[in-house]
């Protein structure tokens, strides 16, 4: 496959939407937009007046069906260098240098088939959301489930949209688990994702599922090891991790 040259381009911020207390979604209009594959990311580069530069990578939340623009959902890291700038300083109309799309393994589109099992922790849900939005835009009925772990219900990103998808699509089902605090009357999962929970969510799919796991290292390790135990072929287990060991 011939790779296109990835050039920096100035993306104009056309929308900023708060998602949760810690996360916001930023829409950038791109002069040289290129269709991405759900799961890919963009690099962002900031430049100070004296020429100092720094870069970070952020997952694309939008589906490739939204042409001409990309949406990045970014968690604000309190002691971070770039995410506080994006959250606190960047405004609609500003320009920001980006390049992408990047990454060719942690990707899924309807041509790859299903059933699709997505497992996310915290802001690890972002690339998974691009896959689900793409699936919905394609009116795909490939069975899909997401198991999404977050500290509290308030920290769930895209909850209304996920529930909305499930309400209109019987082939999709979201499962949430809360690790710190559960809402009143909550009857669902209330612990870190473990092998037993994974087996329950995966049951109708058995080992045929294509599985994408994104989140903190510990979550990804637990889930990926459990999937191997459940005899899911390793080439169907794709992972994306962030955070230090043991986080």
């Amino acid at each position: 496959m011939v790779q296109p040259l990835l050039e920096w381009q100035a993306g104009r911020v056309t929308a900023i939407r708060p998602e949760t207390r810690q996360t916001k979604s930023f829409t950038f209009a791109l002069p040289k937009w290129m269709a991405h594959r759900p799961g890919q990311h963009y690099d962002v580069r900031l430049t100070a007046p004296d020429g100092y530069q720094t870069q970070r990578s952020y997952s694309i939340a939008s589906p490739p069906e939204r042409s001409g623009e990309i949406e990045l959902t970014v968690e604000r890291i309190p002691d971070g260098e770039v995410s506080p700038y994006l959250h606190d300083v960047l405004m609609r109309g500003d320009e920001l240098e980006v390049r992408g799309p990047i990454g060719g393994y942690f990707v899924w589109d309807v041509r790859l088939g299903g059933p699709l099992l997505l497992v996310g922790g915290g802001s690890g849900v972002v690339p998974l959301m691009a896959m689900l939005r793409h699936r919905a835009a394609q009116h795909s009925t490939l069975p899909a489930r997401i198991l999404y772990s977050s500290r509290t219900a308030e920290d769930l990103i895209y909850r209304d949209e996920l529930d909305g998808m499930a309400a209109t699509d019987r082939t999709f089902e979201p499962f949430y688990t809360f690790t710190r605090q559960t809402p009143a009357g909550w009857t669902g999962y209330r612990r870190r994702i473990d092998a037993a929970m994974l087996a329950e969510v995966m049951r109708p799919f058995d080992s045929r599922a294509r599985v994408y796991v994104c989140g903190p290292t510990l979550l990804v390790e637990v889930v990926a090891n459990a999937l191997v135990q459940m005899e899911v072929p390793i080439e169907r287990i794709r992972t994306e991790r962030f955070g230090p060991t043991g986080s």
């Binding site: 100035a10 430049t47 100070a48 390790e221 990926a224 090891n225 991790r241 060991t245």
Partner: protein
């Protein structure tokens, strides 16, 4: 387009002695992030082996026990991941690739190496960048056995290239004639991967 000024961005500055060790676009970390494309392999040591094959007079394979008897060195090196983090002064106990190559006779036609790992990962390197102390196979990090998430029992470390070249869970080196893309190099990442030239992606 080199550097559209980001309104209101000043950046986090480090002391010059640190700043000078960060390749372009990189930021400093003090923890040790984990990145991998799939599940972590857990090969038992009694089933582990390390092989040098391909364009060599006769291939060599070491068992874990034999590998432990090879002379080691301690390396303290800076490492840079294409995902933008750089970690300074990482300390490894390792066998130099020079030591491993002494056990075989490399065919003069062999100019590249494909490193291969448990789980099917591969990455390509020029042979001339593997020798003269530039690359090593490490099995201890910070005086402790290398953890599986960081590539244990043993990983390749090639500190002058982006860290995806430092194959985790390494099981061998195949000497080849022509440069061929490995796993990430086939998926849009740079065929060489020098952080100081910012060779991140294909075409950089």
């Amino acid at each position: 387009m080199a550097g559209l000024i980001s309104r209101g961005f000043l950046g986090r500055r480090r002391p010059a002695e640190v700043e000078n060790r960060l390749p372009p676009g990189q930021y400093l970390v003090t923890d040790f992030p984990v990145l991998s494309a799939g599940p972590t392999p857990h090969t038992p040591l009694e089933k582990w082996s390390f092989t040098i094959e391909g364009l060599v007079r006769s291939p060599v394979t070491w068992s874990w026990q034999e590998f432990q008897k090879l002379p080691t060195q301690t390396y303290t090196v800076d490492i840079s991941c294409v995902t933008k983090w750089t970690k300074l002064d990482t300390k490894w106990l390792a066998v130099s690739v020079d030591t491993l190559l002494e056990a075989v006779q490399v065919d003069p036609a062999g100019r590249y190496v494909m490193a291969y790992s448990d789980g099917g990962y591969t990455t390509n390197l020029p042979l001339e960048e593997m020798v003269n102390g530039q690359a090593f196979v490490a099995y201890q990090f910070d005086d402790k056995p290398l953890e599986p998430v960081h590539g244990g029992p043993a990983r390749l470390v090639v500190p002058h290239l982006y860290f995806w070249k430092s194959a985790k869970w390494i099981r061998g080196l195949r000497v080849i004639e022509r440069n061929q893309p490995g796993f990430w190099e086939s998926l849009g990442y740079h065929i060489h991967g020098d952080p100081w030239k910012e060779e991140r992606y294909s075409g950089d």
